[in-house]
């Protein structure tokens, strides 16, 4: 595990060094954060592929459960403030004592609505965004649905952006309803060219069982270059988790 962490950290360092040498691009990234949703959306009829890989390593509450998600989705600009995504989520899990498995976890549809204009000149400093999603969970043994929602708000002060993201996730089937809260806060500073550095804190809080709560905090970075963008965070576990790295990227076409 220590070796894999060193590889990840050194990988991020190499990416960061490469980004510092890259030419400046005039386009902003989709999100400046790793675990937090951003408030940027595409212009009307824009199209983009977005994806992320996230790890939740050694959640201490469940016999050192480790989980890696790969999420991928097309994103379509319905208008200048609303975009539609059709994500598929694949999950690799490793529970001590069980065989690791890799499977499709869910698929569905997602809407992100930015409540104010995205015009670079006219946009206000305070930008709220609402995200709603409904996904079909295919890992269960019955009709299981996964509704999700986020209220995201960012505030720009010069080169610095502050952001808060309050998310709710439900897993609903015929017999049970599980609710999980996903609160997070972050800061991102435009540093060199289109490279941003910052920090964020993120938590997953199931309401039914407090011992499955985890909290991580750590640095983040983001970079956009022409039609491509990436963002990443390395969450160091503060509670019930060892670490939680996440890498997002997207490419418009």
């Amino acid at each position: 595990m220590q070796a894999s962490r060193r590889v990840l950290v050194s990988g991020l360092a190499v990416i960061g060094a490469a980004l510092l040498a890259a030419p400046r691009s005039a386009h902003a990234g989709r999100t400046f954060y790793g675990w937090l949703y951003g408030t940027e959306v595409m212009p009307e009829r824009g199209a983009e592929i977005q994806t992320f890989v996230e790890e939740q390593n050694e959640q201490s509450h469940q016999l050192n459960l480790s989980e890696t998600d790969w999420w991928i989705s097309p994103a379509i600009g319905i208008n200048d403030q609303l975009e539609l995504l059709l994500p598929v989520d694949l999950v690799w899990t490793d529970d001590d004592g069980d065989r690791p498995r890799f499977t499709i976890a869910n698929y569905g549809a997602e809407l992100r609505y930015r409540l104010v204009t995205a015009d670079p000149t006219d946009k206000p400093a305070f930008v709220p965004l609402v995200r709603v999603a409904l996904k079909r969970d295919v890992t269960g043994d019955g009709d299981t649905w996964q509704p999700e929602g986020d209220l995201v708000a960012s505030y720009d002060i010069g080169r610095t952006q502050l952001l808060a993201d309050f998310g709710v996730l439900g897993v609903i089937n015929k017999t049970t309803t599980d609710i999980e809260l996903h609160p997070g806060v972050g800061v991102s500073v435009l540093s060199i060219g289109d490279v941003r550095f910052g920090a964020e804190a993120f938590a997953e809080i199931p309401l039914e069982t407090t011992d499955q709560t985890w909290v991580a905090v750590g640095p983040n970075m983001a970079w956009s270059h022409g039609r491509s963008w990436i963002s990443a965070a390395y969450g160091v576990g503060l509670y019930h988790i060892r670490d939680a790295p996440k890498l997002n990227w997207g490419i418009a076409f």
């Binding site: 005039a26 386009h27 009829r45 600009g77 200048d80 015009d119 000149t121 270059h225 039609r227 418009a252």
Partner: protein, 214 residues
Amino acid sequence: MLAALAGVAAAAPTGRVVGKVTITDADGKPVDAEAIIYVVGFTELPTKDAAPTQIAQKNRAFVPDLVAITVGETVTFPNRDAFLHNVFSQSAARKFDLGSFKKDEQKAKDFPDPGVIDVYCNIHPEMAATILVLPNRAHTRRNGDGSYVIAGVPAGTWTVFAYTRRVTKPVSASVTVVAGQDSKVDLTLVRGAEEQHLNKYGEKYHDTGTTTYH
């Protein structure tokens, strides 16, 4: 307060700036092209309730490809072609991206700050236009014979500019406007080649050939 200032400006004694603008290529041969003539040195509010200036997208071109507006005015961009167009600008004075829109749809953009705004289509690299966002209403378009008249210019000493797309260097002259009189200024512009520009992602355009995007 602003209304009062506008009223003062309207009541101030004014004169006209008149003359002729000649456009040539680098070899000195006359070129038939659009040109804007404008006076700077004072500020005015835009004309109240004026209809928005329009730049249409027709036959894979912006029509017209050069307009002048006063700070605070709006430009509309209707698509008159049967396929999708995009309108974007990476000019420092006004960056924007209007997305893609189809035939008979139009989008609008306001321009709150002065500057020279180069506008392109992200789908069709041959499409280019320029918007001059000026601090006052003292601007006009060159007539077919090269002449121009700018009326309602406040008395005083100002600078008059002439601009055409692809101009190789700015051309200007000082002008003293006397109330009730014409002040004559002739200017010559030299027009160069169209500069290559990048798409909205900062990349070179791919060869689009004759492909259309419905």
